[in-house]
């Protein structure tokens, strides 16, 4: 089957990629572009491990076809830090130890960033609902919620 030529912007870089019509955006990121920070946890949109943003909108990369992102701007975990300077959410995840095995963490960070962009001053309940699309099996979510609330507070202060 003929491959499709996709032009997209990923983490600020213009990217040309050839992909099969059946490949999900997740497959394209991981298998074609070797951006393996975005993880597959279920491939059915239930776990959020593959969270990325497309033109600022939070999506599960497993539910989007690669061919759909032509001309779009995509942000993944690899673009979250500014060089060696971690995003405040990443720093707060370290400070609060908001991860254990770490496989769900990239998705949680992308979802949390998206949440704070929409709602810079969330309550604990709003954070819990906002992150309910991201499964984490290790942490019981508590330190994740604490880290996100702490990051929100710091971002508002800045």
């Amino acid at each position: 089957m003929a491959k499709h030529h996709i032009q997209t912007t990923i983490n600020g870089d213009e990217v040309d990629v050839l992909c099969e019509p059946s490949q999900s955006l997740l497959d394209v990121l991981r298998d074609e572009l070797h951006l393996t920070g975005t993880k597959e946890g279920c491939a059915t949109g239930d776990c959020g491990a593959c969270s990325v943003t497309i033109d600022g909108r939070l999506v599960c990369a497993c539910l989007v076809l690669g061919v759909e992102v032509n001309g779009a701007k995509i942000e993944t975990i690899e673009g979250m830090a500014d060089g060696e300077n971690l995003h405040i959410l990443q720093s707060k995840f370290i400070e609060h130890v908001a991860l254990q095995c770490g496989i769900c963490t990239p998705g949680l960070l992308i979802a949390a960033k998206s949440l704070l962009e929409e709602n810079p001053d969330p309550t604990e309940e709003e954070v819990r609902y906002g992150l309910a699309g991201n499964l984490c099996r290790c942490t019981g979510y508590q330190k994740v919620v604490e880290a996100v609330l702490d990051a929100a507070s710091e971002l508002r202060g800045a």
Binding site: H34, T36, L86, C101, V145
Partner: protein, 775 residues
């Protein structure tokens, strides 16, 4: 010391993991790799009449197809149990099974591996797998232990009558019967501890590559126990020396016991890469994980408690059935045996009589899942205590207080020959009761009721036995004076990369930045047993202590030589070797550098500075704690809202409070999952899996859990040199009964006295309807 023991140090592994630089098994791509897909059995029980691979072989990109007949022809073996009761000194014969890597002649559960397809791309392999035609003669299936032991039930093995592999019983039946005769009060509960799955967010997965030049195969795998995988594959499947196989586990995305063993797919990719001489990668879908991962719990039990008029326990009696599924593999007998061994939990019980049967059915095998037998034992005991308290009109805290083993009774020998070395059960419970604002409950209950919600609270006291098997740790200095920890344990989320260096930094006075950590590669770690059953800090941490001691002893000799003193005059403290009574001293780093001096060292000192430590606990350690939960239940919908959760845990000496609290919180999350959400369901007639995705197998999400309050009561363990008790499982063990008991407390006023797990809104609604009908 800022980075020393007990400090809330943040994790070394985190910057890598949260920038997307972690390397999990599916992130590993090898040059020219091919892709494996498994053809799984679509039925629960049947005879394989034929497998037609012709169309699949002709499909685009297909490189290799293998079936059970090929495995037989190549002389490959199967996976058996790590031990049966008779192997550990219990004179009870049992039916021993061997799980083939690909089914031969018969399939015994849905998801059993039937064929392997390898192709150029994953999609080609999937398409070709669809073309493999397996002709089955379907046999009747049995999925529950209760049905399987009945006469006339479908037989999973002809040799195991009533599908029973073995029956175990502990305690004194006669004395218990007499105690029940004379008891002022007896309490009875029937429990089904439901079937669960670990659902680590990273599925299993593997990637194997054969090197023609060396004849060595390297297997990358998501496991908790790399050396165990090598030992099983080499010893039982390929019948070859372990030197032929190198096993590497990089970052592993959770395991919870499920990745503690070895799986057919790991043998299949090794076998396949040797056949096609290209790397072969296998990555399962979530549905394949739900179908093919080893599963957990599944115990049915009838339990009774006899008490005197004052509420003192006289005897405990229970009889259980453990549904072990279609094969007894790996550590499958751990949950079966540990539920018995922990039966009396934290109570001074004069007599016990407990037993279970390991029962075969046509569902996947059960192996340890976070807790492994301890959640079963504690759930039984706490449900009995709560029911007895309610029936006798005794406050549940008071009833426990009357029966808890006293701190001054330690060491305490149980009826199952465990020796509890330490524990302040009463004090820990009191601390939890205070932290939970026990006395403020009635006010909160009234507020809830005003809002159309029932409120209930549940207290559970758990104990766990942790620290199984021995293990080995190494410390190696290099000529620059940095030190490397070579760990036999295997961190897959627990944070060993942080805590072990914390300890070594404390003991040896080396800056944590100069401590490197290696694990998970059989070529770099000479031996190890991995991480499971809350063992690493006890066994690995203690072994590390002994390795550090060896470093200090050897270091004294080097220091004595360099400073021209007698080794007996060298003292080590705060990272310095000092000639006693003088100001002559050398740092650990200087001594390590000297140990690599190119000339002039006495030959008896050898070259370099390294230490090896081994530790085997003569007795397990017994972490324990009290959990109190409060729930609200919507009177209209039956939905449970977990409102408050307080835990006070005794994990002995805590190495890092941040990480220890994380273990409790995560453990509680899984315990709550069982109580409220999670359930593996099989159709009882066909044995088909009904919960094959995250839509059906309901996982705890951020909005299902409250912020918990965690406290510690650190009572040092006396059976290991560093005073620690296991940290990984207690949260799960305690949380499940604490939540279910709270739900029952909330619903008792409505006439509900029992609720199955998980307590879904539908089940609560049904229980309320049934109670109303009965009233």
């Amino acid at each position: 010391m800022q980075h020393g023991i007990g400090q809330p140090v943040t994790r070394t592994e985190d910057p890598r993991l949260l920038t997307g630089r972690g390397i999990y098994v599916d992130d590993i791509t090898l040059p020219n790799q091919a892709y494996a897909v498994i053809v799984y059995s679509t039925i629960a029980h049947g005879i394989i009449k034929s497998i037609d691979t012709e169309a699949a072989s002709a499909a685009p990109g297909v490189l290799l197809i293998l079936t059970g007949e090929d495995a037989k022809a190549d002389g490959l073996g199967g996976f058996g149990p790590a031990f049966m009761p008779e192997d550990v000194g219990i004179p009870v014969p049992g039916h021993r099974t061997s799980r083939p890597i690909l089914a031969q002649g018969k399939v015994r559960h849905l998801g059993e591996r039937v064929a392997l397809v390898v192709a150029e791309t994953a999609h080609q392999a999937m398409d070709a797998a669809e073309l493999v035609e397996v002709d089955y003669e379907t046999l009747p299936a049995v999925t529950t232990a209760v049905e399987a032991v009945k006469d006339g039930a479908p037989q999973v093995y002809d040799e195991a009558a009533n599908n029973t592999s073995f029956a175990l019983r502990m305690g004194n039946g006669e004395a218990v019967a007499a105690a029940f005769e004379s008891a002022a009060h007896t309490t009875k509960v029937s429990i089904y501890n439901n079937r669960l799955t670990a659902n680590s967010m990273e599925p299993r997965g593997s990637n194997a590559t054969y090197d023609r030049a060396s004849g060595e195969t390297t297997l990358y795998v998501s496991t908790q126990n790399p050396h165990g995988v090598r030992e099983e594959l080499s010893g039982h499947i390929f019948h070859e020396p372990e030197t032929k196989l190198r096993v590497i586990a990089r970052d592993v995305g959770g395991g919870f016991g499920m990745k503690g063993g070895v799986y057919p797919e790991e043998a299949l990719v090794v076998w396949a890469t040797r056949k096609i001489q290209r790397p072969v990668k296998w990555t399962p879908s979530r549905t394949e994980s739900l179908m093919s991962d080893d599963q957990g719990r599944d115990q049915t039990v009838e339990a009774e408690l006899a008490l005197d008029a004052d509420g003192k326990i006289l005897a405990l009696r229970w009889a259980a059935l453990n549904n072990v599924g279609a094969y007894i593999v790996g550590a499958a007998n751990v949950p079966v045996m540990f539920s018995l061994r922990l039966a009396q939990t934290v109570y001074a019980i004069p007599e016990i009589d407990v037993g279970t049967k390991a029962v075969f059915t046509n569902v996947p095998p059960t192996t340890p899942y976070r807790g492994a037998g301890r959640p079963e034992a504690v759930y039984i005991m706490e449900r009995l205590m709560d029911t007895a308290a309610h029936e006798m009109g005794i406050d549940p805290v008071e009833l426990r207080r009357k029966n808890l083993i006293a701190a001054d009774a330690m060491p305490f020998t149980t009826h199952t020959h465990y020796v509890y070395d330490s524990g302040e059960f009463d004090a820990t419970m009191s601390q939890c009761v205070a932290a939970a604002d026990w006395d403020g409950f009635e006010k909160r209950k009234a507020e809830s009721e005003a809002n159309g919600r029932w409120r209930g609270r549940g207290l559970a006291y758990y104990i766990d036995d942790t620290g199984i098997f021995n293990d080995r740790m190494e410390l190696r200095f290099d000529p620059s004076g940095s030190v490397t920890i070579v760990a036999g344990t295997f961190s897959h989320g627990q944070g060993h990369e942080t805590t072990y260096p914390q300890m070594v930094s404390d003991w040896l006075g080396v800056d944590a930045d100069n401590i490197r950590f290696i694990q998970g590669d059989t070529a770099a770690v000479s031996f190890g047993r991995g991480s499971y059953a809350s063992r690493s800090m006890i066994v690995g941490g203690s072994a590390l202590r002994y390795a550090a001691d060896e470093i200090i002893e050897k270091g004294k000799k080097f220091a004595a030589h360099v400073m021209e003193a007698s080794p007996a005059d060298i003292e080590f403290a705060d990272g310095k070797f000092v000639v006693a009574g003088t100001d002559k001293q050398m740092s650990m780093t200087e001594v390590a550098q000297w140990a690599y001096h190119p000339a002039g060292l006495p030959p008896e000192l050898g070259i370099g500075l390294e230490g090896v430590g081994g530790f085997a606990a003569t007795s397990p350690s017994f972490p324990n704690g009290c959990h109190i939960s409060e729930v609200e239940i919507d009177q209209e919908t039956g939905k449970v809202y977990l409102d408050r959760f307080v835990a006070v845990d005794d994990m002995g000496i805590v190495m890092n409070t941040l990480l220890a609290h994380g273990q409790v919180q995560g453990g509680v999350g899984q315990g709550v999952g069982q109580a409220l959400l999670e359930d593996l369901q099989y159709d009882p007639d066909s044995g088909q899996l009904l919960t094959g995705s995250f839509l059906d197998y309901c996982m705890p999400r951020a909005d299902d859990l409250p912020s918990m309050e965690i406290e510690m009561n650190e009572v040092p363990c006396t059976s290991n040199p560093i005073g620690v008790k296991g940290a990984g499982e207690g949260g799960t063990v305690g949380a499940t009964p604490a939540v279910i008991i709270a739900i029952l407390d909330a619903l008792r006023s409505e006439g509900v006295n029992d609720i199955p797990m998980p307590a879904t809104p539908e089940r609560i609604w049904q229980a309320l309807a049934d109670a109303k009908k009965a009233a």
